[in-house]
Symmetry: C2
Subunit: 553 residues, 2 copies
């Protein structure tokens, strides 16, 4: 249904700049500069309003830093600094405000409306959100819904953060005459979240018959990736404007009759965008520019290297080959051809001499003991040490190559392949790793990730002829079991009743509950499929799963 | 003030057994057996009531397992199992109850009153506690305060968990005629917590003029250590009975006029008890019996070895010496004499040949680069690998030897000295490490920890003539800075105004905020001084401290 927009539509009277920017937690001088640059650009483009996301100046999530008076004061000073430099353009800027009542200080998630060197008004969030990763309730107090303000003859309602999703808020502002509601938010990505956010907010607009402009944060911070994808819907809830996902910039809201914004990319491309963003921002927020990846010739390290190349550029990614005596020629060949496809540099440090020295040093202590997982883990730990040595010597960040299926079953070596600063695939199930590899090839129309790598049987190659499937069963079976338990909360009985094999289910869950000690020491990675970030999942390390499960049957 | 107790005092009519026991999270069969054994013992001793702690059957903290219906059902089955075997003795047993209202299930922190094969009554906690480590609010719903029950002509009020601390609860039960209030709790240790718990509860008893018996959980679970120290106070708030701290057992409440229970041990002995308990329970809950400690000849590893010996017995502790070319003869001598004092076995794996092989393998890649922290970290990581190899081969748990001062400043090597399953001193500041070492010597009247170790200058010995003080300043200065910031929330300005030097303060805080990535991957350790466990502290990994601090000045 194409609608004609009359000349009085809000976007014809207000030229709005959307500051879909990535700010860094605590980097107030840097954040101020970024905001001021975006304001300048908006002015140059003739905007009369420019909107920035929720908690724009503090960075997000700031977590316990919000309990530090100096941190809170710093971002208030940053807001005042921005306001003092604002000219004849109205700026709406997310920040954390502070109010004293009865000698107690309360923080509010808020937005400042600035104009001509002054803060005209501070608008508070009127609820405490529950959304994952931010944990507002620990830090914030809820404020009052503010009535609309008039900007260039348009009545603009402001809803901070997920106030826009709270039933009744849009109606209330619409009743107070708002022509359009502007919502600065900071809503993180996970698969499906962007689409569901747009459709839920569109529904609110439709219910309240009000126009809505949503300005979302973009960029990675630790385990969260904000996807941007700021958008506008009309009072029927139809999308009339859309900013790109995972792209930083000052975008201008431009609506033309009959010209609908394009659909968002498909899930795989969205996930690729999230992973690339998270790698780039994590590396840069560490003050670094380069990353190093151990290339095994397997699919996980191939995908991480390809994503790192997209994030940092091929000149900033180093692939490290660390063959042992049992590394097959194929593994080395595949790794080399991947690196060549990606145009990234490689170096090779054979680990056998180091392994032999360890085994020689330990043999006198382990007399009469058969080789076992000890020696396998040593392979992995030597590689971890070498990666970290390169990291220390060259200042590259080590990207770990573990995926969610391995992490959930503890099929990984602590201080070995788990060593590193950031783990891009930490929340990507192995079956999704395969899909992403295929997607990367098909979107470029090239065999970026060699087909031989995609087709080979998964192996940790820590002993001859090892395969992942011997230990874990096929991933096509493991991933649905993990998904049923971890994401949908099903118990063993329900999983088996849904058609998955009982023995594999018990084994997967046993592996999950017995490997919490490994996840406790894992590197952070971006949240992609899980409802909660890894820091929000709280499990006892020793939980005697076998005992409790048997008892409850 | 000694009081005379009349013959009708509650403890003359009720012979109460206190089941101050350690249960394991999720080990329902094991927990049931432990409870039944304690009940049997209480019966043999002629008790007519036996009381067990809060969440006795689930184990505590159970965290997100409480969101699993099978887990919750398991411990309800366990409760019913216990109840069905109870004879002519009244049993009060902490568990998690489940109630359905409008098709939604709610959990309550509760206690079951069992007698003669039946559950007579379930008493719910009437509030949601905020106390650190348990996070009730995520899982539980508050119930109703229950009126007293009559047992052997005594009106017994029951308050579950920290209901006993909530203003008004004791008064309310007293008004309803309670002669005594029985409070099953699960209250974890940290320095000063035991004394403050007793005095706060005693105050409630005094205010409400009611007798109180508090039954606390004992034992370690992950980062929490419950200290037991169950106790009774009279209606003036005077302590009339006291169970030991950190000791598991079935204790009988026996009160005699004029015979006051002894004071609790001093802080150092309490901390020693907490650390020993946490090591023992962590190792045992992992299904292991032995531990391994890397002995450097320094005070941290000496203290960890001494505590491990107290926890597990000397036959279950292996000390591993891993000298390099720069390890001084003193370090080896001191480590050997410590081991001999403790009667623990040692083995020695010199790391120089392994280090040389690494350096040989890497030299071609690092041409023209000077030796730096890379080589220092390699020393530490080789030691980590060797400890883990022993752990894998022999099934010993690796105890890390890092302390809180190091952890807070990132003065530790990831995957190096940070490698291990449990870190007993993770929350023990270095200055307290010294006090504990001195305490261990003075309580035994022997030089268990050689004076030479206590007196030597602290060094990581990762390069020649290195000292901790070069990097961190003296610990006597560092620890008060960390304590001011981390425990009292003071900012740089306030710390400096309190008399500590500005440069050292800035440096310590900068080190703290720049090392969150290390703590993110650290092994768990028992909470000793901090208000929150490490999982409860949430800091962004990249937080640009220098930027935000400068901006807020």
């Amino acid at each position: 249904m194409a609608r004609d927009y009359d000349e009085n539509a809000w976007f014809n009277r207000l030229k709005v700049g959307v500051g879909q920017i990535k700010t860094s937690t605590g980097d107030f001088p840097g954040n101020v500069e970024k905001v001021l640059n975006a304001i300048k650009k908006a002015e140059e483009l003739g905007c009369n309003l420019v909107v920035f996301p929720e908690m724009c100046l503090a960075g997000c999530p700031a977590h316990d830093l919000l309990q530090r008076p100096d941190f809170v004061q710093g971002q208030i000073s940053a807001m005042r600094d921005v306001a003092s430099r604002v000219g004849r353009i109205i700026v709406l800027l997310g920040f954390v405000s502070r109010k004293k009542e009865d000698r107690i200080e309360y923080l509010h998630n808020a937005a400042a409306l600035c104009f001509d060197g002054k803060v005209l008004r501070v608008i508070e969030k009127s609820s405490i959100g529950e959304h994952s990763g931010l944990e507002e309730r620990h830090y914030m107090t809820k404020g009052e819904l503010a009535p609309p303000v008039r900007i260039n003859r348009v009545a603009v309602g402001v809803l901070v953060g997920d106030d826009v999703l709270r039933p009744g808020t849009c109606e209330q502002l619409a009743e107070q005459g708002a022509h359009v509601i502007v919502a600065p938010i900071a809503s993180p990505f996970r698969i499906g979240a962007t689409d569901s956010r747009i459709s839920r907010i569109a529904e609110r607009a439709d219910e309240a018959s009000v126009n809505l402009l949503v300005v979302n944060r973009v960029g990675g911070q630790d385990e969260l990736v904000f996807d941007g994808a700021s958008f506008a819907v009309d009072d029927y809830g139809e999308r009339i404007w859309q900013a790109p996902q995972f792209e930083e910039g000052l975008f201008v809201v431009e609506v033309s009759a009959g010209n609908r914004p394009a659909a968002l990319p498909d899930d795989l491309e969205q996930v690729r965008g999230a992973l690339v963003t998270s790698i780039r921002d994590y590396v840069h927020d560490c003050g670094l520019s380069k990353a190093i990846v151990g290339l095994s010739g397997g699919i996980d390290s191939a995908l991480v290297a390809a994503l790192a190349k997209d994030a940092l550029g091929p000149e900033n990614v180093l692939g490290l080959l660390m063959p042992s005596g049992i590394t097959s020629k194929e593994s080395t060949d595949y790794a080399e051809s991947l690196a060549s496809n990606l145009s990234i540099k490689t170096e090779s440090v054979p680990i056998q001499p180091i392994l032999d020295t360890y085994i020689g040093s330990l043999s006198g202590h382990f007399v009469g003991k058969e080789p076992d997982v000890t020696e396998q883990n040593l392979h992995a730990r030597i590689r971890g040490d070498i990666l970290m040595a390169f990291s220390n010597k060259l200042g590259h960040l080590v990207l770990c190559t573990g995926n969610r299926s391995e992490g959930s079953t503890g099929y990984a070596t602590l201080y070995g392949d788990m060593a590193g600063g950031f783990c891009p695939l930490a929340d990507v199930p192995k079956t999704l790793v395969y899909s992403l590899a295929g997607h990367i090839n098909s979107r470029t129309g090239q065999e970026v990730i060699p087909k031989t790598i995609i087709d080979r049987e998964p192996t940790a190659e820590l002993r001859p002829n090892q395969t992942d499937a011997e230990s874990l069963g096929p991933y096509k079976q493991l991933d649905p079991i993990l998904e049923a338990h971890l994401d949908r909360g099903l118990g063993i009985r329900e999983i088996v009743d849904s058609g998955l094999p009982e023995e594999a289910t018990r084994d997967a869950l046993r592996r999950f509950y017995c490997s919490q000690h490994k996840r406790h020491q894992a590197a952070p990675g971006p949240r992609i499929v899980s409802a909660r970030t890894s820091s929000e999942v709280r499990l006892p390390i020793n939980s005697h799963f076998d005992a409790w499960f048997k008892f409850s049957e």
